[in-house]
């Protein structure tokens, strides 16, 4: 809670500034970081011209950053002021507390094994399965394009956990002790990642890019070996709360529609804090059970009755479509009911919006920090998107490439990036990999222009910015709304709830 308040003070202050300049850093960073940002942005710009050569440029330039950091931490005190600030923020893990410190510092030879545990089967869980195809796509792409990491081939081992936390734990043990993977990357689900967090941190196996936006992954001090992937739910809630205040005014009324589970509750908790800070009035709270696959007609009737200025909708999977269909019906039947509706980023996917043909999806806001590969313009011109689409098609998956597979690809891009950084800096060990991940400063192929993945010892969160989007039913695509919002560094580290 304390952390969230700090965030909102920051968010409220910076959102306007940021929206105006389209650049960030909130005044909190030093000159080194600013220059890095500029470099990253330049790279991104040129990347549109030539993708392949640029990929390498980015890597080498940042590999240099990494080795500099390492040098600095070794000879303490000799750095000048500018570097001292950077050094304070840079992160180094302590391997002496590991179950087996030697394993954490042992050089990784030969094939580099990456493990992951995601749902591939099992009731509703199977909906997550294309994530795995996205992961495989990146590994295949990197192996064929770059010949692995400095000649060491990458191997992805996918385990099926049916979205069941106890199976995730079994899979994690299997990956670490039987398959002897170097790292785990992109495990899906909050309870699933929580179930393996304590073990992996004790074993000192990097648990990279947990595919959830729960606040827990920023615990740099307590669980340094775990990093998160998605834009933190706190950030999204803050972004929408700020949008309401800026566009509809203070004191606006808000209705909540959320799925009653850990995921929905995390958003609602964060939004309540934001609404409190910014003076928004929550007038309706409607819940839906995570397993409910019917249409939320009763909940919508209540929302119409409360007639709020804005709605925050947090449905899950097919419920995204059902919610918007119902919204369209309600709007048509009640002309005075016309709230600004934001639906969370997990629904930000044409497969959920496309089937809505009654006007319910038109004008619904959402956000995303990744490029929309289903946007015809992006698909045709963006080198990152082109590379992704080609690689994804090669996996033979029949899933929508713009679906959850994108996040799978991203989880592997970041995993491989951290490995590449560690390898370039000298020795490839689990320790150097997690240090590289915790000190990441990277613009991935699919990250939206203007954002950077950045973490350090004082910043435990990777996704702290997003682009607000609006669905256009006529064009069947998302349209960008305003400039990109970058709250990089605002979340700090997680200190427990």
């Amino acid at each position: 809670m304390r952390r969230s308040k700090k965030l909102f003070a920051l968010a409220a202050a910076s959102a306007l500034v940021i929206a105006a300049c389209g650049d960030d850093d909130g005044g909190s960073s030093d000159t080194t970081e600013v220059s890095e940002t500029t470099a990253a942005e330049e790279t991104t710009e040129t990347s549109e011209a030539d993708e392949m050569s640029d990929e390498e440029t980015t890597e080498t330039s940042e590999a240099d950053d990494m080795s500099e950091d390492d040098d600095m931490s070794e000879d303490d005190g000799s750095a000048d002021d500018e570097e001292a600030v950077a050094e304070a923020a840079s992160f180094a893990v302590d391997t002496s507390v590991c179950e087996d410190p030697d394993a954490a510092t042992a050089t990784i030879d030969g094939t580099i094994k990456i493990g992951t545990s995601i749902p591939l089967s099992g009731g509703p869980a199977v909906l997550f399965a294309p994530f795995g195809s996205g992961q495989q796509a990146y590994i295949d792409y990197y192996n064929s394009e770059f010949g692995g990491v400095n000649g060491q081939e990458l191997e992805l081992i996918v385990k099926d956990d049916q979205y069941t936390a106890d199976l995730t734990k079994a899979n994690s043990d299997e990956l670490v002790f039987d398959d002897e993977v170097a790292v785990l990357g992109g495990v899906i689900g909050t309870p699933n990642n929580l179930a393996i967090q304590a073990d992996l941190n004790a074993q000192c196996v990097p648990q990279l890019w947990a595919s959830t936006g729960a606040p827990n992954w920023g615990a740099v001090d307590e669980f340094p070996w775990t990093t998160g992937l998605l834009v933190a739910y706190d950030i999204e809630s803050a972004v929408w709360a700020n949008w309401i205040v800026d566009n509809l005014g203070e004191g606006s009324t808000v209705g909540l529609f959320y799925v009653n589970n850990e995921f929905g509750q995390s958003y609602v908790n964060a939004f309540n804090v934001a609404a409190d800070e910014l003076g928004l009035d929550i007038v309706a709270e409607e819940v839906i059970d995570p397993t409910d696959s019917g249409s939320p007609s009763g909940q919508m009737t209540n929302l119409v009755e409360a007639n709020p200025d804005a709605i925050l909708a947090i449905p899950l999977g097919g419920q995204c479509t059902a919610f918007m269909l119902e919204l369209g019906n309600a709007k048509a039947a009640n002309p005075e009911f016309d709230p600004a509706v934001y639906q969370t980023a997990t629904c930000a996917n044409p497969i959920f919006y496309g089937p809505v043909d009654n006007g319910g999806a038109d004008g619904v806001f959402t956000s995303n920090n990744l490029k929309d590969v289903n946007n015809p313009d992006t698909a045709a011109n963006d080198p990152g998107a082109i590379a992704y689409l080609e690689a994804f098609a090669a996996t033979g998956s029949d899933a929508d490439p713009g679906g959850i597979a994108v996040a799978g690809w991203e989880s592997m891009e970041l995993t491989v990036y951290a490995i590449q950084q560690a390898a370039d800096a000298g020795e490839l060990t689990r320790e150097t990999i997690i240090n590289a991940a915790r000190n990441i400063n990277h613009v991935s192929n699919l990250l939206r222009d203007g954002l950077t993945y950045r973490m350090n010892g004082e910043d435990g969160y990777i996704g702290e910015g997003a682009q607000i989007l609006v669905w256009s039913e006529a064009d069947q695509t998302f349209v960008e709304e305003g400039d990109i919002i970058n709250l990089e560094g605002s979340l700090g580290i997680y200190s427990g709830s």
Binding site: L120, V176, A202, N261
Partner: protein, 414 residues
């Protein structure tokens, strides 16, 4: 020598059979502990925890004939009770921070589940078969909703559940911290399974046990013969729930977190337990363990087929490269369940026993039937398992009934 061999109960041959069986099981466990990696031992522990819950379910569904889909509810209650006590969410006298030692919460979970089980058992007095199954299923989902209910979130954690439950091995075990966590839970689960099995066997030999089987085989007849149906059903429901609750409590502590949306706490869990029971063999003393092992390891195999279809002998010839077939693991497991039900309809233990019967039969010692013996009431059903009776007037037990109950109890297994 003619088959089947006739073995007298309690003879040296009978004991040899028992020693061989338990010896083989002991050897299997010994190999698992010494040679398996943490992952295999972890799966085995999961199977043992499920086996504990199924042992509970077996009492009410297998031996008493009351189809329950409510045991995931008890499982969840057990898990949440432990989690709430360990996280100091419930005020406790004599404890400053309200934080319990995890071990003691197992007992608390058992007590709470016993009480809830007795209450759930009351509707069972009126309801049968699928009606009871559906009511208990709704109970399971209601429990899940209750733990997620916002108003109680301060105690139950609400939808986000309770986290960071650490039950590290105590120092007297000689096990060291988190590295030996799996080993610790393996032994814990094994000991509790053995205790639950002995309890269950003892119960079956008691008067209540004979009432249970009588109730299952013919409720009306049992009532006529003086079985107190109300007491039998509610008490057995309570005991059965308590055992499932302890299993749930172990599950939560092993996982380190509880969250009402974890599938095993809902419909899926109840179905899992029922499938494990029937696959292993209902009303068989080894059934829960065999069924749980089947469920966990066959499911693991089915998932492994789905993870890398090209590497499996089953489908490898059909599929090339790293093709991922979404949902394949589920299809394989589903088909395996169908095939199992088709070709092993009596459950693994039941079928093994019919095979064994071709090789050897155990001849029970003949005891003199009591004067009020109920043989005439056994309505033509004279199989060792089915003979049902209880004393009419003063509930003295006939020899035949004693053996009937005995044949369901563990010690008679060879």
């Amino acid at each position: 020598m003619d088959l089947p061999i006739r073995v007298d109960k309690g003879s040296w041959l009978h004991w040899l059979g028992r020693v061989l069986l338990f010896g083989a099981f002991g050897l299997f466990l010994y190999r698992a502990v010494t040679e398996w990696t943490r992952s295999g031992l972890g799966l085995l522990t999961d199977a043992l925890i499920i086996a504990i819950a199924v042992t509970g379910l077996n009492l009410i569904t297998g031996y008493t004939g009351q189809l329950s889909l409510g045991h995931a509810g008890f499982f969840a209650i057990g898990a949440f009770v432990s989690a709430m006590l360990v996280s100091g969410k419930i005020w406790t006298p004599f404890l400053e921070s309200n934080v319990w030692t995890p071990g003691w919460t197992l007992i608390a979970a058992a007590l709470v589940c016993f009480v809830v089980g007795v209450v759930v058992g009351i509707p069972a007095l009126r309801l049968k078969g699928i009606y009871l199954a559906l009511v208990t299923l709704v109970f399971t989902e209601a429990v899940r909703a209750f733990f997620k209910y916002e108003e109680f979130a301060g105690v139950t954690g609400g939808a986000t559940g309770l986290k960071n439950l650490n039950y590290l091995p105590p120092s007297w075990t000689g096990l060291e911290g988190r590295a030996d966590l799996v080993t610790w839970f393996f032994w814990l689960a094994l000991v509790i399974l053995i205790v639950a099995s002995i309890l269950s066997a003892g119960l079956l030999r008691s008067r209540i046990g004979r009432s249970m089987i009588a109730t299952r085989d013919n409720e009306t007849a049992a009532a006529v013969m003086g079985v107190n149906l109300a007491k039998t059903k509610t008490v057995v429901f309570g005991i059965s729930a308590a055992i499932a609750g302890v299993a749930g409590s172990l599950f939560g502590l092993k996982l380190g977190l509880v969250e009402a949306d974890i599938p095993i706490f809902g419909l899926f869990g109840s179905v899992t337990l029922l499938v494990a029971l029937i696959v292993g063999g209902a009303a068989q003393n080894w059934g829960p363990l065999i069924g749980a092992l089947f469920y966990v390891f066959v499911n693991d195999y089915a998932r492994s087929v789905g993870e890398a279809p090209a590497d499996s002998w089953l489908l490898g010839w059909l599929i090339d490269g790293s093709t991922q077939l979404d949902g394949l693991g589920g299809v394989v497991f589903g088909v395996m369940l169908i095939l199992f039900a088709r070709f092993v309809p009596l459950g693994a233990v039941g079928t093994l026993k019919t095979w064994r019967a071709r090789l050897a039969v155990v001849i029970p010692k003949i005891s003199v039937p009591a004067a009020t013996a109920g043989e005439p009431m056994a309505s033509g059903d004279v199989s060792a398992d089915g003979a049902v009776t209880d004393g009419v007037a003063d509930a003295t037990v006939s020899g035949a009934a004693a053996e009937a109950a005995d044949s369901d109890a563990p010690a008679s297994d060879s």
